[in-house]
Symmetry: C2
Subunit: 429 residues, 2 copies
């Protein structure tokens, strides 16, 4: 007899069914036991004689075979009257680390993360990762439709991309190497190698010394790089197109999950572009808050998002034209004001989720800029070398997958959007 999923039992008209899953709840009433069986698709009630399920404990994995019965009093309107119940995987605990069959888990996030294989069992906690998978799927599909090639670039690298700090070091056959902070150099090189348009979904590493709600030591970066652009505005348009595409995709692929989180997504997304200096001025004049030269700080991002929401009803805003001194050495200067760059951030609900820019594509200009930044061109030799062979105008951006997931679903902490988060305090599980 073939296994049937809980969700399919509801739709089915089979008289007899076989289901498998975990014991979500047991309710014994006289000689009858009501077992809530949970599988990856949902929960179904199994009604059994008490002596048939005498051994059952919460979270055992079991198999039940029985008659499918429509019953208005059953939680889902359908239940299974079991003729056999069999334990597939038993349990070894005195008490569960926390209850997972109540409306919510009453345990700190840290405790939940310590017991990740238990805290992910409630359907809402797993729903986060269904949405995350579809965010990534939409990214991939959107870019493929626009002629991009997916690449995998190395995470063990010989030199620091964006500056030497905040990098994890690796012992690579006795040589000192680093974990890549981003695929920056490699995605640019792949544009030059003739792919023209590439994307990557892969891990990136930041040895963040501060433990905040929005930082991870290891995260998934969705990276884009595009050649033969006219200006950074091509990139801004590409990302705006992705956000609209994503929302359309999620409204159909994740309707149930979005409802669980009380999220409704707009049908079309037009994102204002505002120069950083203008945003800084507004934050100062409206909220009396000074910003650092480099951009908005975390509080500034929140205040400016509030302003954009109040004035324009948008959750998103592109901040553009960051100062040269505060962007990496490969960033293309603004032709009208060399103190500024052709760069942008995307702020979503008060949090930066993207950094992007047009890059310098001329070998000599890049070499000079590396020197101007006080760096040694020798340290970037293989990267620089690839600019000798006709690198076209290009640029790109990166989206933090966990950040986008967190903000989209209104989660409080980025760790909720990572299966096994890594930070200064956490290397396990």
């Amino acid at each position: 007899m073939r296994r049937m999923y809980a969700a399919d039992v509801l739709e089915s008209d089979a008289p007899k069914v076989l289901v498998r899953g975990w014991v979500h709840n047991i309710n014994r009433v006289g000689k009858i036991a009501f077992v809530q069986l949970r599988d990856r698709t949902g929960i179904i009630q199994v009604v059994a004689d008490d002596d048939m399920v005498g051994d059952l404990r919460l979270e055992m994995s079991i198999e039940a075979v029985g008659d499918r019965v429509v019953n208005d009093k059953a939680p889902s309107g359908v239940e299974i009257h079991a003729c056999t119940v069999r334990i597939l995987g038993t349990v070894y605990y005195e008490m569960l680390p926390f209850e997972i069959n109540k409306r919510s888990i009453k345990a700190s996030l840290e405790t939940q993360l310590d017991h990740r294989t238990v805290s992910l069992r409630p359907v809402k906690n797993r729903a986060i990762f269904k949405v995350q998978q579809e965010i990534e799927e939409a990214f991939r599909n959107y870019l493929k439709e626009n002629g991009f090639t997916q690449v995998h670039t190395p995470k063990i690298i010989s030199s620091a991309t964006e500056g030497g700090s905040e990098m994890f070091t690796v012992d690579f056959f006795g040589k000192r190497a680093f974990l890549a902070q981003s695929p920056q150099f490699y995605k640019q090189m792949m544009v030059g190698a003739g792919f023209e348009r590439v994307f990557e979904v892969g891990h990136a590493y930041r040895a963040e010394l501060h433990n905040t709600w929005r930082h991870l030591g290891e995260y998934v970066s969705m990276d884009v790089e595009m050649g033969f652009i006219e200006s950074y505005e091509d990139l801004v348009a590409l990302e705006e197109g992705y956000i609209s595409y994503l929302f359309r995709h999620l409204r159909s692929a994740c309707a149930a999950e979005l409802e669980m989180f009380g999220v409704s997504l707009p049908v079309s997304v037009e994102i204002p572009r505002i120069p950083l200096a203008e945003a800084q001025r507004i934050v100062l004049e409206k909220y009396g808050k000074r910003s650092p030269l480099s951009g908005l700080d975390a509080e500034g991002e929140k205040l400016f998002s509030e302003h954009m929401q109040n004035e324009y009803g948008t959750d998103f805003v592109f901040l553009t034209k960051y100062p040269t001194s505060k962007r990496p050495m490969y960033t293309m200067p603004d032709p009208e004001d060399p103190g500024l760059t052709q760069s942008f951030d995307l702020i979503y609900k008060g949090l930066e989720i993207t950094t992007g820019s047009q890059r310098i594509h001329d070998y000599e200009m890049l070499r000079q800029n590396i020197i101007k930044f006080g760096l040694d061109p020798e340290c970037f030799s293989f990267y620089l070398e690839s600019f000798r062979y006709g690198m076209p105008p290009h640029g790109g951006f990166a989206i933090g997958l966990e950040r986008l997931t967190m903000k989209l679903l209104g989660l409080d902490n980025i760790r909720e959007a990572a299966l096994f988060p890594r930070d200064i305090k956490r290397l396990e599980p």
Copy 2:
């Protein structure tokens, strides 16, 4: 005027077009220059007055605007009579590291890898990665259709998965950590956490001390783990289904690329299952070659594949029932012979591309097995802990993406199937 790709110029009926790409070749005949312009879709001939392209050198990136003219003598039957040619990205070299506009590159693989952004420019070298992308795409689509959830699991981990050797160490905020050899523990834990069926496409790391044609220090592993299985045969059937799905997908998505490599893929794939001991016997009796207890060695895999090709006309064979002592501690013993395991390898054209097995799902049995293997359960505490809560019968396998790509296209060295390979001698580019 919008840019048009080389391939689209052939199909188009626009009288005037704008193209961008790299100077693949220049041929000057009197006052006329014939420029082969290469973009990500192909090559188109641009005909220009010699004085218009006096500065042009090979591999510059350029833009040309001109009339689209059908001409039987042009290499693709269509050419562009340029009115303007503009340099977008110039070059800084005396000589290219090797010629890339001839039938093949005349340079060693090592030299080609040293100049990866040059060696990838010929269309055939980039085609490898188009096929690779589609191998991955088919994997993802096939598994999604079968109810699998994509996961991202950590690559920085606290303990060795398959034994302590061959691991890269990382300085994780002053703690000694490792780069994951596989997502083994985590994918099993995600089955137990209620996802039931998960897959991951991500980097895996092996500090291989020997430099061979089939090993990489960093590679892409396509991992699967499936809960509520009946036996390891469910896994073998799942992978067999993938191979058929993949070949169907590639025949339509990569017809041109397969032709470039002279590859034709069978319409349906049925893969024989043969116990390891039987394969070892055949290799000994037919070829006089002894095998190690653990399986077939590299030469044995080749010989046995030859046998399977000659006798059954198949490129694939599943070897099953490896000895207990030679499989990891989490492998489920064979119920009929405890000296054997419920495990398998998939051999493709003489090379192992997959290892898989049913896993032990009972907490006590796993703990005992860890001890039996001479390991300390304390070192696997978070992994073991997750088996306390009703782990169902489960198992999985992993496919090496670069290995599959290499064998499918008939490449000689796995490094050709990696954009930026990492091995004991190579940390750059």
